[in-house]
């Protein structure tokens, strides 16, 4: 059985936000919710990196652990989904998630969050597959059609990879091998003076102890 995973290759992401737009459009995400976002570190400086993050579909999902009504469930592929009919909108999943994946629509009054919405790995919800009701609540169910999440399909540089964890790992390992780890090789900055291809210049005088 495949174990579905996301991987965003920080070396390839160019912050084009195609994944964000594809997800928002395809799933008709509620107002105020952004299932996927691209975060850029050191924007504008050498050493800039971007990463696309949505729900990571954790094995020991904190959102599922803290939910007071136990509305989360796990598919056989490891995808973490939830039932909006059971959700009471308390917000605990949002507090617990390290990635900020569960979000709430912004069009409700104070104290009333509405139903939680998050990335479903394009896997829909508990409603019957590809039904109108499922689309209205959870967005597209591409997994039931044998397809992979649209964000990864739309990625312009194939930085964002989604699918079977073994295949994703193989792809990434191949990339790392081809690149030769030039940017991230420990010691190259000292040995070859050039600090590698994409290392940031804000490293002078600093070491990995963070002083």
């Amino acid at each position: 059985m495949a174990r579905m995973k996301f991987l965003c290759d920080a070396e390839r992401c160019i912050e084009c936000n195609a994944c964000v737009t594809a997800c928002k459009n395809e799933n008709e995400v509620p107002w105020g919710v952004n299932r996927r976002r691209v975060v850029t570190i050191n924007d504008g400086s050498p050493g800039e990196r971007s990463m696309s993050v949505a729900c990571m579909h954790c094995s020991d999902a904190p959102c599922a652990a803290v939910c007071p009504v136990d509305c989360f469930y796990f598919t056989d592929d490891g995808v973490v989904l939830h039932d909006k009919d059971i959700c009471i909108g308390c917000g605990y999943c949002f507090y617990a998630c390290p990635f900020g994946a569960p979000q709430f629509p912004a069009n409700a009054a104070f104290g009333s969050r509405g139903k939680m919405d998050k990335c479903t790995f394009c896997g829909g919800g508990p409603e019957p597959d590809n039904s109108a009701e499922e689309f209205r609540k959870y967005g597209r169910n591409r997994l039931a059609e044998g397809k992979l999440p649209l964000c990864a399909e739309m990625c312009s540089t194939k930085a964002l990879i989604a699918g079977d964890g073994d295949v994703v790992s193989d792809i990434f390992r191949e990339r790392v091998t081809y690149r030769g780890a030039a940017a991230m090789a420990w010691g190259w900055g000292v040995a070859y003076g050039g600090r590698g291809k994409r290392a940031g210049r804000n490293l002078e005088g600093r070491d990995s102890t963070g002083d």
Binding site: I41, I88, F110, V190
Partner: protein, 352 residues
């Protein structure tokens, strides 16, 4: 090693051996000395900076994103996991144990001591203790407090206790109703609590006699403990309700009105304060309710009818009765043989 005369060999060998060992140590250790002063840590790992910022252990947030919102530039929020561990591994089990322990201790005390009767029996004479306003405030607070307590406990423990009973859909409806009720009556509880605090605060200011009352365990040990209008235990309960209650209300408002761009950290801290103090207050309320009903004969009527038996008042609040006598109230009251308060002791500022 060169040959030595036999006699000298036995004398020199220990010396040479010792010197050789010293020389060996010197040869091995001295070259290492420069290494202790050498700067070994200055080789940066180019990846470390990036992943340190991704991990986001230090504020401020350094990532930027096109998505506008609070904390959207944060890639990994590590406090979420800390909060999850606290709620699931600490708060839930500890809360259950505290509540269970308090109920158990109260039950044990009742089985051992029983209801504490009015000494000398009831005299039949009534003394006015609480006004109608006092009682309305008290019972409104009680009703709202237990409504909030029950709905809050459903949100905490319902997943484990009620889903097997009600099923997932049935419990979802129940929990949703509990959450809405909790959110609706929370602000109302705040209003009533503030009125209650204002109403009773003057009678609950700490005095030395209360410390003495507490040291005697309220009369459980050490003989009779004098008390005024409110005794030391009642005052402690008042201040617990005031301080914890206000903290619960403030944190509750932060949690309730979540549309003011509160970040996750503020919400997590508010939740920790809110739930921990609320559980403690619920446990305390069991003790207060016990004393006011089963524990002490003649107590409940003070809050239901507003008046108490004169013997009850003399036994449990003798300084209050003295102050009333000094003011000329209760003139018809015959002096009770149980009255043991020391002469000339009037406590100022007690509400009658």
């Amino acid at each position: 090693m060169t040959a030595k005369p036999a006699g000298e060999k036995s004398q020199r060998k220990p010396h040479i051996g010792r010197w050789l060992v010293c020389l060996l140590a010197v040869v091995l250790v001295v070259p290492l000395i420069p290494y202790t002063f050498a700067d070994r840590g200055n080789v940066p790992n180019p990846g470390a900076d990036l992943w340190r910022e991704v991990r986001q252990r230090e504020a401020p947030v350094t990532g930027t994103t096109q998505v506008k919102g609070v904390d959207t530039g944060v890639l990994i929020n590590i406090r979420g996991e800390q909060w999850r561990q606290f709620r699931m591994q600490t708060l839930l089990p500890a809360g259950g144990m505290v509540l269970g322990a308090v109920v158990g201790l109260i039950a044990l005390f009742y089985l051992v001591r029983g209801t504490i009767r009015v000494p000398g029996g009831r005299s039949g004479k009534r003394i006015q203790r609480f006004t109608e306003y006092d009682r309305i405030l008290h019972w409104s607070t009680v009703f709202l407090f237990y409504l909030l307590a029950v709905t809050g406990l459903v949100l905490l423990y319902g997943r484990f206790l009620l889903i097997p009973l009600l099923g997932p859909d049935g419990f979802a409806v129940t929990a949703s109703a509990c959450k809405e009720a909790h959110n609706l009556f929370g602000p109302l509880f705040f209003v009533v609590l503030v009125l209650l605090v204002i109403n009773f605060i003057r009678s609950n200011l700490p005095k030395w006699v209360d410390i003495k009352w507490l040291l005697k365990g309220g009369g459980l040990f050490g003989g009779h403990a004098s008390a005024g209008y409110f005794n030391g235990g009642e005052k402690i309960w008042f201040w617990l309700v005031t301080l914890f209650g206000l903290a619960i209300c403030v944190s509750g408002f932060v949690l309730l009105f979540q549309n003011f761009d509160q970040g996750r950290q503020l919400m997590e801290i508010s939740h920790v304060i809110h739930s921990s103090l609320a559980l403690l207050l619920v446990a305390g309320s069991f003790g207060h309710a016990y004393i006011g009903t089963l524990g002490m004969e003649g107590s409940l009527e003070s809050m239901t009818t507003g008046s108490v038996d004169a013997n009850w008042a003399k036994a449990h609040h003798d300084l209050w009765m003295e102050e009333r006598a000094a003011k000329g109230l209760d003139e018809n009251a015959a002096p009770s043989p149980e009255q043991q308060s020391p002469p000339g002791k009037t406590a100022p500022g007690y509400q009658t």
